[in-house]
């Protein structure tokens, strides 16, 4: 096991290096520069722009820039944002709590919908419940989040005037009122993301359970006289969960990455909106850091999924 882990971790290093090289080159080749707005401003002489570029090291050749980025990253220095002049890690840390709260809860909501609905639908295939659940799931993952987001705003903010559609991090309240305000402003983005994810996962859970429930050992378990609940929970679900775990584990990096579209609609200051504004502003250090963290998380959760297999299914062994 330890051997396996070590091997996997060693393989991860060249992949991460490769990813960082590709990211860096693509960003360096992309058109535009961080001072686009300055070019149209008559009051700013060209030498000021040249000076700014030089002060940020933008005029150095690309390999030098990459090497200096890499050595700094190794030392734990993530660099400075071009546009806000503060350390990138600080910028990301500022966004992390909101991202984790909103996106994290939405994933929990999605699981809370997908698992019971999917399993129940699979144990009674083609029943009314299954048909309704299937239809709703289909509708749910066919509608893009930007559409449901706008529909929610139209209904709950504009027509009914119940919920605010601008997410504010600085709520002037404490105690219960704070929680209540927080709930009011988070519920729409959470539900938009949760329902979309939940719909996708429901169909996946259902088909995974359906695959297992027809197998002979399930019939055996039933014939032993076990209750239906025990059969489903202990024998069916545990085995059916293996592919689901992969899917959920691979989805976890997305929690940190945020949800770009939904964050933009509701103005949630998450990592997704940080990424998109950085891309629009050509803020290379921030884009590099966010995408790199993202890549590292994908690799890490892949590994985690593999290890979880072993725990769920003892037949899989890594020694």
């Amino acid at each position: 096991m330890a051997n396996y882990l070590l091997r996997r971790l060693l393989i991860a290093i060249p992949s991460l290096l490769g990813i960082s090289v590709i990211l860096f080159v693509v960003l360096a080749l992309a058109p535009g520069d961080p001072f686009g707005e300055l070019t149209t401003n008559p009051a700013i002489p060209p030498e000021v722009r040249a000076n700014l570029r030089a002060s940020l090291g933008l005029d150095d050749p690309i390999h030098l820039r990459y090497i200096s980025w890499l050595t700094a990253m190794m030392k734990g220095d993530w660099g400075y944002s071009f546009v806000s002049r503060i350390p990138v890690d600080q910028l990301i840390l500022q966004r992390l709590p909101t991202t984790l709260a909103v996106i994290g809860i939405s994933q929990i909501v999605a699981l809370a919908i997908a698992l019971p609905v999917g399993v129940y639908a699979a144990t009674r295939p083609y029943s009314i419940f299954d048909q309704v659940a299937n239809t709703l799931a289909f509708v749910g993952f066919s509608l893009p989040t930007f559409f449901t987001g706008l529909v929610f705003i139209l209904i709950f903010s504009i027509t009914l005037d119940w919920l605010p559609f601008v997410y504010r991090t600085g709520i002037d309240a404490s105690g219960w009122r704070w929680w209540w305000e927080q709930f009011r402003q988070s519920i729409m983005p959470i539900m938009v993301l949760g329902l979309f994810q939940g719909a996708t996962w429901t169909r996946f859970v259902r088909s995974a359970v359906l695959d297992v429930i027809r197998l002979d050992y399930v019939t055996t378990a039933r014939s032993k006289g076990l209750t239906e609940g025990t059969v489903t929970m202990k024998h069916v679900v545990r085995n059916a969960m293996i592919p689901v775990v992969t899917l959920v584990a691979l989805q976890m990096p997305a929690v940190f990455g945020g949800a770009i579209v939904t964050e933009q609609i509701f103005r949630v200051p998450g990592i997704g909106s940080l990424l998109i504004t950085s891309i629009l502003a050509n803020d290379t250090p921030v884009i590099m850091a966010v995408t790199f963290v993202f890549a590292a998380l994908v690799i890490f959760f892949n590994l985690l999924a593999d290890i979880l297999y072993g725990w769920l299914d003892p037949r899989i062994s890594y020694s």
Partner: protein
């Protein structure tokens, strides 16, 4: 009306034999607008130069107004005005930092940290135009209690011009000299007579930072100053917290130097999202009190406004959406450069073709159907302040006239309906940035051109590329590798001198200056260069106004540019809000005067 006649009329107003109202009436009869007439009086000293159009401020005590919530659809990322690239950052910094004076909506100066506006009468403006003396307001303190003095003003000059700091304000400070006269007086000295003396320490680029907090961070370590993100200024609100790209919060400054101000107890600027939903959050749901720069289609804006909770503000500015007809040939390469000034455009070198193109732009339809309140059809490149607006230019939409002009010049239709003369065909590439109203404008003009036998090939470039200074990219607007292009050029101060340098021959954008020159059109005209130089050193305001108007007439009269729409600033606020906005300064230039009607 000639300059002499004008001058004698102004003389009569000064002597008191003609009332100001009588003056306005007389000059209106010959076509000068009323604002232009009052401005003429102001610049010649026949009436006070300071603003007279400031809205009344009603609150009778400081504070008690609750929170002020502002929504920006782009978010501030840093709070040092000398590093503020982009208007969002300037706006955010303006809450805490103030300049010596700001520009009011009518293009006149209002003292903020200055005790008064320098003038010839007070002897603070040198007759030779080589220096200006600013008297500072007494008793002003920074948010940390330290008094504001002339040392701070001098420090800002040193800070901004220091190349190691790479400030975006350096253009306003690098060629001047600043001397401390006494604790509350500074003198700005210019190398040559400078009629436009109100640039340094004024408005957007004049916001002042405290010496005692920045003096240890001037130079290579300027980016590390903690106060870059935690401002300590003199403004009406004190800093509370800041999350770059998201939220900025401030609270009332109890020691603010103007009485009964500010009205609000706290201030909050939320950033991010898009313009339409920002308009909605103010006009329709009233969740926020003010939203900035509402670039939203008129139809949508009018519908949101119909819900009756907020209204749209339209404030005139000098920004203009216009088309350039390339002077040079974009399809011939000379020494690795297209659109080189050693070539001439095969079709646009004929004045008839340029004139025809001018006849084909239906500006009124653009205003009516596309831009609405956010664009006013205009025949002029220089539109504001009104005192600089030319009355000589006319524009007309007429496909018939375009056809006549082209027929007369010998451009005949070929079998495909496209006109040609010799081996030159009227087929042009027309480029602009990706932006819905611009693509609709392109389509409208293409349609009209087709009916006059001109074929336009439409091209749209992503804004981040089009408006970049990327030397390697052929699609940026300074390269102008197309026959025609369209964009908005901005006028950042109430004086047109810098704005009009876009057509002087030494600013031509070309390979030798890395396409950094401001003259993107590559327009070269001896008279233009000469009049521009004259205006640059002309100390007589009336003469100078006439010269600047002449510059507009030369370039517009050449038909190498087609001014389309003057673009006012559009913002939204809830019904109870009372703001004071100006097209010549930041939206927040007078935020101390904002209040809510009970």
């Amino acid at each position: 009306m000639t300059e002499d006649e004008l001058r004698s009329l102004i003389g009569r107003v000064k002597r008191g034999t003609l009332s100001r109202r009588g003056f306005v009436k007389r000059v209106a009869a010959v076509g000068l607008t009323a604002p232009m007439a009052t401005q003429l009086l102001a610049v010649t000293g026949a009436a006070p130069a300071a603003a007279q159009s400031m809205p009344a401020y009603r609150p009778t005590r400081r504070g008690g107004g609750g929170p002020l919530k502002i929504l920006y659809w782009q978010a501030a990322t840093l709070l040092n005005p000398h590093f503020a690239n982009g208007s969002t950052n300037q706006e955010a910094a303006r809450i805490f930092y103030e300049p010596l004076a700001g520009w009011a909506a009518d293009g006149t100066l209002v003292p903020i940290l200055a005790a008064e506006i320098p003038s010839r009468e007070a002897g603070t403006l040198a007759a030779d135009g080589k220096s200006v003396t600013w008297k500072l307001k007494q008793g002003v303190t920074w948010h940390d209690g330290t008094p504001f003095t002339a040392d701070d003003v001098v420090f800002n000059w040193e800070y901004a011009r220091n190349p190691a700091n790479a400030t975006v304000t350096s253009g306003s400070y690098k060629d001047i000299n600043v001397v401390k006269v006494d604790a509350h007086t500074v003198r700005v000295e210019f190398q040559k007579p400078t009629p436009f003396w109100a640039d340094a320490f004024v408005a957007t680029r004049g916001m002042l930072i405290p010496k005692h907090l920045f003096q240890n961070f001037a130079g290579a370590n300027s980016r590390d100053a903690p106060t870059n993100l935690r401002p300590v200024g003199t403004g009406p609100y004190r800093f509370v917290s800041f999350a770059p790209g998201d939220l900025l919060r401030g609270e009332l400054n109890p020691n603010y130097h103007r009485e009964n101000r500010p009205y609000f107890d706290t201030i909050e600027i939320k950033g991010g999202g898009d313009a339409v939903s920002a308009a909605r959050a103010v006009l329709q749901t009233a969740d926020f009190d003010f939203a900035w720069n509402l670039q939203v289609e008129e139809e949508v804006l009018a519908r949101l406004e119909a819900s009756g909770r907020g209204k749209v503000n339209v404030v005139d500015s000098g920004n203009i959406e216009f088309i350039q007809l390339n002077v040079t040939d974009p399809n011939t390469e000379v020494d690795g450069e297209r659109s080189s000034i050693r070539t001439t455009h095969p079709a646009f070198s004929d004045p008839a073709v340029r004139q025809a193109m001018n006849f084909l732009c239906d500006k009124n339809s653009l205003q009516q159907f596309i831009y609405g309140r956010a664009g006013k059809a205009t025949p002029n490149f220089l539109n504001n302040p009104p005192r600089y607006r030319s009355e000589a230019m006319r524009s007309e939409f007429s496909i018939q006239k375009a056809n006549e002009v082209l027929d007369a010049a010998g451009w005949v239709r070929g079998r495909d309906g496209i006109r040609a003369k010799g081996n030159v065909r009227l087929r042009f590439v027309y480029q602009t940035s990706v932006n819905a109203p611009r693509q609709r404008t392109q389509a409208l003009i293409k349609q009209a051109a087709q009916r006059a036998g001109i074929d336009l090939e439409l091209k749209s470039v992503v804004a981040t590329v089009f408006f970049s200074s990327d030397v390697a990219n052929p699609d940026t607007y300074p390269k102008f590798y197309a026959d025609m292009q369209m964009y908005t050029t901005t006028m950042t101060e109430a004086d047109p001198q810098t704005f009009m340098n876009q057509y002087v021959s030494w600013e031509v954008s070309q390979k030798s200056n890395n396409w950094q020159g401001r003259n993107v059109l590559r327009f070269r005209n001896e008279e233009y260069d000469r009049v521009f130089r004259e205006a640059d050193g002309e100390m007589d305001p009336v003469k100078r106004t006439a010269q600047l108007i002449r510059l507009n007439d030369i370039v517009c009269g050449s038909h190498h540019i087609i001014p389309l729409l003057s673009r006012p600033n559009v913002s939204g606020q809830i019904n109870a809000m009372r703001t004071n906005l100006s097209g010549w300064d930041n939206y927040h230039w007078m935020i101390a005067d904002w209040y809510k009607e009970a």
